[in-house]
Symmetry: D2
């Protein structure tokens, strides 16, 4: 049985036909239209195109935003003009197939759980460190949804009381301390301070950021400024994972998103901070930390699998 | 169908025959033996006694401690000499009926979810404020267990980095800021400071604590010291619930245990702190806060129901 | 002996002839020119005018900004275009009398120490809660200046690690938690949250703030939202004063600025937080908290007295 | 002119004849008697002995404890049975020369300021990292005493709200995060955690500590566990120094005590944390960090100099 996964990102829509084992049989990409009508048409056309060549059962659509508990209504999307939009019904009418919606971070988490870094686990947490932070939690093999459909908003764990203001209206959210943007903020602070920041400063682009490749180079040379910047973000991430452990008790943390490309340079200080802040029950096993393996396909694959399960 | 619930506490064992609707048909109580063999005999005798008068299907046993993922082995119990004890197999051999184990806080949470304050919800968090703190989480109608059987250890959320040492070996755990013991510590701090603490000081017993009834009296008279002590504990509790909301997204927080007897005097400042620290997603619904309704029977009733479900 | 004090504020310049006992013999006010040349001319003209009617010895000039250790050069001023400006030499050339410079918060602190709420003490801390926070410290009868002229920048004590960004480039400064602006932020948070914030919300002006008079009214009626907003600011203030006590050991905290007009409604919760966070040496005396008594004249009177002492 | 300095430690009394330039002409040592009478006799005998060979002007006595503002009465001493003891009068009667008292950390700070690492500065802070933390502050060339004689209790800055309990009765004091004892606690935490702590664990003595020489060895080999332990303590120290800068504005931090023997391994991460938490006024100069140079003689030399100044 084949299902289609659609991952609506800020700049492009990716759609793919996904087999039961998570293999992508065929994948298409188009730019994301700004107009919501044009966007729906683009999704419908993409599904129609794929379905003309493959026998498709159901369709899963992943996008950033808050989705109601029944996965039918997009309550609020940060990048697209959807407010209380009954997307599932609209898409089903246009596409003529069963549709499910899912938050993009949840879709990616489910993809990794089923076919990627989380395969074989029962209780897993995925943290996607992009510009912001996305979260997903799997408990006893089920995706955690929550009473209002907003469980696992892990980037909005309040990490510092009275902390940095967050776009969500709250302050001190983890996202302000462990994300791609937070990493660049730490880099800027250290670069501006001179001393150990001098090499970071030299690698800043006109836009004021240090590109990932440059950062990896500096880390490989044990540059003190680069190590310090990553250590700060990793410390926040690891301490937050200690909190997630107390609540969710996963066996595995999967770290994804662009920041996760730092690999062990990120994971090693993360584990130290995690172990430091983990409620210490003596014999208690600790969770493993791994990086995601499906890259940008995780959401597409995951939401296709959720479509299969829910329809 | 009737099931038996056994709640092994620090000082007594309560056992009851529980109907499908949570009604306790008959209940017995005996002191808790120190010796583990005598304890097992007491449980078996109690079940035998109850089963001689009722048609019993299965037996659930609740006790404080860490229980493996399969709910068969007590990994570590704080009050009883059980280390990696295969209690399920032992009890089944002695009792001759299917047995399940559950952590006492989880059992109480499940009891409230099914038959008490949480009835009708799908996603609920229960926090039991006794001497320490117990936690339970229900997600989409299932009790959250975790990869190692230790999910919802809500009292061991790290609340203050570099905070008060906790009996678990970690520091800064919520239990050190929001529990019966934490409340008495705040009371002592305020009483010792003179000023607004003078009436609290006057109500201290020889053991150095202010009994609950005295505290309620002072609260009813708007004593500034008593209000401040409760506010501190409620602030910690409410802020932690903001974190639990971000992760678990319950519709309901049920507050139980002895401290919950303060009722609205506790819940009102808790809600203020919760709302202050809740990731603010605009339209997002907030959870309700209620006190538990089953009292000391929650664990017994809950574990009997879990026995029914699991066997 | 008479001296002139000049207090250059953001909107007006106040100048006065001050007697040895702190009495203001005559006072003038003019708007603050934007141009630095015009500003200097206005100060010179004001001094000339006053000196035509009084026998003036020396002149003290107070303004917001960082002033070098010798009190001769304005290193950086937040509101006026002075960078490394040798103001003392310039003013002395224009005025023909000895001149001293002082930071405005220090001038006000010295004024209160000599003639206001701090009279009779030897070690005093003044905290001015205006839009931002100003600080001054007197130790054994001397104004604390510091190696770089920037001691007693009390508003920039780091109060929350990883906290709210501050205009000074740092984050988590006390000014972001205890100041007029911080108070309005807490009010806004509480008002936006509904519940106990409903009356605060009703008193908001078009500019989104709750005027001081309205706030005092609500406090007098024990409005829970107003009490909570003030309590938050007072808690930050009181905890910071605990830190200042450990370092400076004053016998007196004088609280000035617009927020101090809340009087005991502010001071009472401040004292509670102070005592809670004070290093507790048993018998150790605690400092008193009082509000300033000289109001807007404190800076003018203080800097005139400093002119006398230094010239 | 020669003066005598007496430094009463927990295990021994050191006494020395000190020249105007801080040179110790002759030094004696005796064990510290437990009995306060015997202790006073020992001090008097030591002074008598020294005075028989040198022309001595005045005597300074340094000891741990809280001393009144006039430096005449020991209010409370942690190690010796002195409570409100009029030591100055007692010693003067026994010794027949003018006497001053000083807190041991203040005496050491004054010694370093006048003759050691702080020479040539005007505003200096000294932090002595022994088992606990001692502090001293010099402002514009004067030792900061405070209204109650207890200024510069820098180890009791509240560093973590709700933090580790401190022997002073308060919680979260800096001493619990940056001191010799705190360093050993971090070492123990890391050693117990396995992983990067394995080499630390291997170097633990029967008493459970890692001796300084072993720690220096591990640091020289870039052992990750040792680096992490020191980094934690240095981070707390550096952040606290950011707070001291905002209040006292020194040009120099002198770090003394046993932990300071780690030298640059301690100072380098301290500077990073200091700069991170320093209120950032752009052009503002930052303070230098150096280690103390007088070692155990600092207190004796400092209190002799204070005796000269005060008598």
């Amino acid at each position: 049985m084949l299902n289609v996964g659609i991952d609506i990102g800020g700049t492009k829509i990716a759609g793919g036909v996904v087999a039961l084992d998570g293999t992508i049989i065929e994948q298409l990409r188009v730019p994301t239209p700004v107009d919501t009508g044009a966007l729906a048409d683009a999704v419908a056309a993409m599904v129609g195109d794929l379905a003309s060549r493959h026998e498709v059962h159901a369709v899963g659509v992943a996008a950033a935003g808050f989705i109601d508990r029944t996965r039918s209504v997009m309550l609020h999307a940060p990048n697209i003009d959807w407010q209380n939009a009954p997307l599932r019904a609209q898409f089903e009418a246009q596409i003529g197939r069963p549709v499910t919606l899912e938050n993009d971070a949840n879709a990616a988490g489910w993809g990794e759980y089923r076919f990627g870094a989380g395969r074989g686990s029962t209780d897993m947490v995925m943290i996607t460190l992009g510009t912001g932070v996305g979260g997903a939690a799997v408990g006893d093999g089920s995706l955690l949804i929550g009473a209002n459909g907003s469980a696992a908003e892990l980037g909005h764990l309040r990490f510092v009381r009275g902390g940095r203001p967050c776009g969500c209206g709250q302050n001190g959210c983890l996202e302000q301390y462990a994300s791609g943007r937070a990493l660049q903020r730490e880099i800027a602070d250290i670069a501006d301070g001179g001393g150990i920041g001098s090499r970071l400063a030299a690698h800043r682009t006109a836009a004021g950021i240090v590109p990932g490749a440059d950062l990896k180079l500096l880390l490989s040379e044990q540059d003190a400024g680069a190590l310090e910047a990553v250590r700060r973000v990793a410390t926040a991430l690891g301490e937050a994972c200690g909190a997630f452990q107390a609540v969710l008790d996963p066996e595995l943390f999967v770290i994804g998103g662009g920041v996760a490309e730092l690999g062990e340079d990120l994971l090693e200080p993360t584990r130290i901070a995690y172990e430091t802040s983990l409620p210490g029950f003596g014999e208690r096993p600790t969770a493993r930390f791994v990086t995601a393996t499906l890259g940008n396909d995780a959401g597409l694959v995951g939401v296709a699998d959720l479509a299969r399960l829910r329809t």
